[in-house]
Subunit: 119 residues, 2 copies
DNA sequence: ACTGGATATTGACCTCTGTCAATATTTATC
DNA sequence: GATAAATATTGACAGAGGTCAATATCCAGT
């Protein structure tokens, strides 16, 4: 038996798709992939992701991230939650600090899928 | 003298960025790249793009695209306009028909940038 | 020119989302 | 356990965005 759509991991949601030049996406596939893209399609979240990605090990503490923005702490927390819940960032708590880490596999698959729409 | 931010083409907007694992994006870079991602981050537009991409030559007539959706003609037209104005699709009119074509270079650059956030 | 078909624009409606202030939760330290 | 610091949650608000009906524009053929 196959997993229901809801249970699909983000990797599976993206890995499902053949190159876009070979076959159009179904509505359901587009729905799941666009959920990932929505999470990325915000300037603050994109910069947050790049900050995390450029840290050693692709991991960074929230305390390091907040300083880069002129935004309230709840707002940064909100954006990190979106990135985490979409499956683009992993979250781990150590003591009082929370670390976010890039899901390299997800970002790699997603990037390849987008590139596949070109030649 | 360098171009103002407004004048940057979509390709330039994306090609500007070093891999995300090497250097975090600036606010301005994130702003421009997220504009492209916003255009992609809709299920209908993503499926539209995949339909165009999977046609011969990466080009398709609007007449071929509308049928795949249960949406009004103005809505499809609106989504195509968003994809075109963001720089993801080229537009050309031949007689009464309008053809949209994928900007392979833009999609390739964008995909590589996203993948660069992984290892 | 007139008619018909293909696509675009306008204006309105409703939902979704980014932001903040205030408050809550968790954890280390005293 | 009380306090302080780091992060998350809640609730409210304003602005952005997807959708449609109605209308406009553009082009081919008669």
């Amino acid at each position: 038996m196959s997993k229901s759509l809801i249970e699909l991991t983000p990797v599976e949601a993206v890995a499902c798709c053949t190159p876009m030049t070979r076959e159009p996406m179904t509505g359901a596939q587009a729905e799941r992939v666009s959920a990932l893209l929505k999470a990325l399609a915000d300037p603050v979240r994109l910069q947050l992701l790049s900050l995390v990605a450029s840290h050693e090990g692709g991991e960074a503490c929230v305390c390091d991230l907040s300083e880069a923005f002129d935004l309230s702490q709840p707002t940064i927390s909100h954006h990190l939650k979106v990135l985490h819940q979409s499956g683009l960032l992993d979250r781990s708590k150590r003591g009082v600090w929370v670390y976010y880490k890039v899901r390299a596999d997800v970002l790699d698959s997603l990037g390849k899928l987008i590139s596949s729409a070109g030649a």
